[in-house]
């Protein structure tokens, strides 16, 4: 395959970026999207040019490090798939592919396609945990949990923190990310003592980081590589309302 890539290049967070056209040659169908970029980078290095910087690590869809807007869609055309699991058989010879970094004020560009997602860490630090010290636990089976609740908590806990929800939201909202954690812990009995405080603190932190509000576009749900549904947000809103009224 031969592809015409249009790639966002930006030296660092202070300088202006631009789209560069780069031709990718000798691409095969069984390459992953990131292996295609590896190949392009090897060719750029051979030509004495600087390779394209992008974030990636596990390359099996679980660490949440990879990103990329591919033809305007977070993680590309396949649903329920991270960029690292996207394969070139989803594209055709001669295709033009537009590759951009996550787009959000709360995720500044570091270089080329790499962005700074430390805002997510700070939202988590605001309350995305159960306050228990190591060594304080009772026997694990002393606390039975309804299977349905445990499964629902797991569905929310599947979030990999990649930020696709933010990147594809017209408002740059992090509601799906925050709601996933609020629901994970809020569905479990261990999470009840801090349930109200947690949702308030995390939502406040989210606002302080400059993420936008939710206005029900559901773009987040459409691109989430772990298929976390948008009704997770509705549940968080209910928790938040309840917590605010009970103050």
């Amino acid at each position: 395959m031969k592809l015409s890539l249009h790639v966002w290049r930006q030296a660092n967070s202070n300088e202006a970026g631009r789209m560069d056209q780069i031709t990718a040659t000798d691409i095969t169908e069984d390459m992953s999207f990131l292996e295609m970029l590896d190949k392009v980078n090897e060719d750029l290095i051979c030509e004495g040019k600087e390779p394209i910087a992008f974030d990636h690590d596990c390359r099996e869809g679980i660490c949440g490090m990879c990103s990329l807007m591919i033809n305007g869609v977070a993680h590309g055309p396949e649903s329920g798939t991270t960029t690292c699991q996207l394969h070139m058989r989803s594209f055709r010879d001669g295709d033009a592919i537009y590759i951009e970094p996550w787009r959000s004020r709360a995720f500044p560009v570091i270089r080329d396609l790499m962005v700074d997602r430390s805002s997510f860490d700070r939202v988590m630090q605001a309350g995305g945990y159960i306050s228990v010290n190591t060594g304080n636990a009772q026997d694990a089976n002393a606390l039975p949990i309804k299977k349905a609740d445990a499964d629902a908590a797991f569905d929310a806990a599947a979030c990999i923190g990649c930020g696709a929800c933010v990147a594809s939201c017209p408002n740059g909202s992090a509601m799906l990310f925050v709601a996933a954690k609020v629901n994970h812990l809020g569905r479990l009995p261990q999470g009840q003592p801090e349930r109200s405080e947690r949702v308030k603190k995390m939502v406040d932190a989210m606002d302080a980081e400059g993420f936008g509000a939710c206005s029900n576009h559901y773009e987040c749900e459409a691109v989430c590589p772990k298929d976390i549904p948008a009704d997770t947000i509705a549940r968080m809103n209910r928790d938040h309302l309840k917590a605010s009224l009970c103050d």
Partner: protein, 643 residues
């Protein structure tokens, strides 16, 4: 180098309890006067940093990823063992201990493994309290499943994402400490040097991967929780950034490196499809419970698998190991696949694959039941290969997965450099020559939550620089010396301006390692590999091309440093494999096998941990070998047989 394992006396059941009592404590008011560095934020590092923070120490935690939550522990699929005996099937601490020592082919230290089994139950309790959503039964209690090398169901799991859920648990605990100010996180920051003052580890030098800035960090103790070195093979199931740099730096500062040749090749991975492949993907070991492994009986049979009749298929694991069949441990299953492929019976375009067939299970249980058990794995397989495993057998091949070798540590997880600790996969301690499934998560969390928090305190109470000698600060000449050495190395890398990419060197190293130090090794191959690696290393330092600048974000420079260390380390692995004239666990020497191709151990001469001491970089400098003899008082050494 003196190897004092510090194994406490007394009955094995009481060793840890008594040792905890005998260890010195740090007064709560004094804890905040100590600074502890934790490198790595996976299960071992994240757990240790959070717990030390809870105890009141000042902790600085470093990771090269953009968040602590991305560490590669996250990719573990199958589960975590614990001797809870919830299913009432006869499990006990003693049985978990015994299985783990046996599974490690009798090359682990008994006292450490016993402690691991003892702590295993506390880990599950802690994780549940943190909100880790383990799989549950309809009655609301925790579910268990069985895993390779065990005849009881002791594995706790969270679908196929157990590592992710446990890591998020540790990350949440860590986030809580960050909010309290007891832990400072340094993301996108990589360790480049370890600073030793008067024989004690007193700090590190890091490089910021965004700005390129080098920074000195002083501390009273340094914990390395930096994972394994599987990426020395280039292709492995490790994350792209996983590296051996911290361990190599520690080795060069005097820490002994134990058993580097012990590597685990996992039998069920998706085969390599092209030369552009960057990593290999694991298909969980759990698949072998319902899948049957086979190859055609006829050499070079290119027919589609579904048209090959039953009597022309060789279910070689069932044939060779009738009692364990498809459930033999990982090392045995991997070697058997290699044997068939080497003999010309492999399938797929490369001939380097075997079938893992679910058609019997689908006939027996129905497609829906198989989907309920393995749906996410089948989905992942189809995404990568574009083949539907419900209709066509999966093609699988062994791949490098885990490394049992690591920095040598004593019972307190301290390396031979006082004040320098190694936790999790980074150390060598608990898995011997072969790790059983669902034991890596257990060890990482045991070290981080329940061992290091005590033993580091014990060290600080005795040697922490709170007393008369005063604190070591970053102004100490040892910091300047390490930083200057680092600057020189970076300049050297940037100024070679050669013609070959970093990646191409890494690939060539990987090929040498896989061919000569992979699933089967022999004397002449290893000798050749050592020469080849030395030559490749020379070529690297004269012809590598690192584009860009050292000031700022430069992923190629990050990679160049890591590959330089892999080159050095690959040679050490081959030396260790050459020294060990026996076959045990993941280490298979072709010269040492039985007539029917099984591993032959030599307990009389090799029941020791081989510990290598760095002796310099000059021509003719060779690392020296030290031995820690392994005493087996409780587990009887037998030949592992799965026939």
């Amino acid at each position: 180098m003196k190897l004092d394992s510090k194994i406490p006396g007394g009955p094995i059941q009481n060793k840890w309890t008594e040792h905890r009592f005998n260890m010195k404590l740090v007064n709560p008011a004094n804890k905040r006067k100590f600074r502890v560095i934790v490198v790595g934020s996976g299960l071992a590092g994240g757990a240790a940093a959070a717990t030390l923070g809870e105890l009141g120490y000042n902790v600085d935690c470093f990771c090269f990823q953009d968040s602590a939550r991305r560490a590669h522990s996250i990719a573990a699929q199958g589960g975590i063992n614990a001797a809870k005996n919830y299913p009432n099937d006869g499990d006990s601490i003693w049985r978990l201990f015994y299985d783990t020592v046996k599974g490690g082919d009798y090359r682990a230290r008994e006292a450490n493994v016993y402690r691991l089994a003892e702590i295993s139950s506390n880990i599950i309790d802690t994780c549940v309290a943190q909100g880790v959503p383990f799989a549950r039964e309809y009655g609301g209690l925790l579910d268990n499943r069985s895993f390779g090398g065990a005849q009881v169901s002791r594995t706790f799991y969270a679908r196929g994402q157990t590592g992710q859920q446990l890591l998020i648990g540790a990350y949440q605990a860590l986030s809580r400490q960050v909010s309290k100010g007891s832990v400072t996180m340094h993301t996108r920051t990589e360790l480049q040097e370890i600073v030793v003052v008067d024989g004690h580890a007193r700090g590190i030098i890091t490089r910021n991967l965004v700005t390129g800035k080098l920074t000195r960090h002083a501390a009273d103790a340094v914990l390395l929780c930096t994972g394994g070195y599987g990426n020395v093979f280039y292709l492995s199931t490790n994350a792209m950034g996983s590296n051996v740099t911290a361990a190599v730096k520690a080795w060069k500062k005097g820490a002994g490196f134990a058993n580097p040749c012990y590597t685990q090749i996992h039998p069920t991975c998706i085969p390599v499809s092209s030369e552009h492949q960057s990593k290999l993907t694991l298909m969980s070991e759990s698949l072998r419970y319902d899948g049957r492994v086979w190859v055609p009986k006829k050499k070079g049979d290119t027919r589609a698998p579904n048209v090959i009749p039953e009597d022309e298929r060789d279910y070689y694991l069932e044939r060779r190991y009738p009692s364990f069949g498809n459930l033999v441990p990982r090392d045995v299953a991997s070697r058997a696949a290699k044997e068939r492929c080497d003999a010309g019976y492999g399938v797929g375009s490369t001939g380097l694959a075997v079938y893992l067939d679910f058609s019997d299970a689908i006939d027996r249980l129905g497609e829906d039941a198989v989907r309920a058990r393995y749906g996410n794995l089948f989905h992942m397989y189809e995404k990568i290969t574009a083949e539907n495993p419900y209709k066509v057998p999966m093609k699988i091949f062994p791949a490098v997965h885990y490394t049992m070798g690591g920095l040598w540590v004593d019972y307190e997880l301290q390396t031979t450099v006082p004040g320098l600790f190694a936790l999790g996969e980074c150390n060598f301690s608990d898995h011997g020559a072969n790790r059983l499934g669902a034991s890596a998560l257990m060890q990482g969390l045991a070290d981080g939550y329940f061992v290091a928090p005590y033993t580091v305190g014990h060290y600080l109470a005795q040697h922490g620089s709170m007393g008369a000698s005063g604190k070591v600060t970053t102004d100490h000449p040892a910091f300047a010396e390490s930083e200057n050495a680092l600057r020189d190395r970076i300049d050297r890398l940037m100024n070679i301006n050669g013609s070959q990419s970093v990646e191409s060197f890494h690939k060539r190293l990987g090929k040498i390692m896989w061919d000569e130090c992979g699933m089967a090794r022999d004397k002449s191959g290893l000798r050749g590999a050592i020469e080849d690696i030395q030559a490749l290393q020379k070529e690297f330092w004269s012809d590598v091309c690192v584009p860009g600048s050292k000031d700022g974000c430069n992923p190629e420079l990050d990679k160049a440093g890591r590959v330089a260390d892999f080159l050095e380390f690959g040679e050490l692995m081959c030396r260790d494999a050459l020294m060990r004239e026996e076959s045990c666990g993941g280490h298979f020497r072709k010269e040492h096998q039985t007539e029917d191709g099984e591993a032959r151990r030599d307990d009389d001469n090799y029941a020791f941990a081989g510990v290598w001491e760095y002796q310099g970089d000059g021509d003719g400098d060779e690392p020296s070998l030290h031995k820690e003899n392994l005493e087996f008082e409780h587990v009887k050494l037998t030949t592992r047989s799965y026939k």
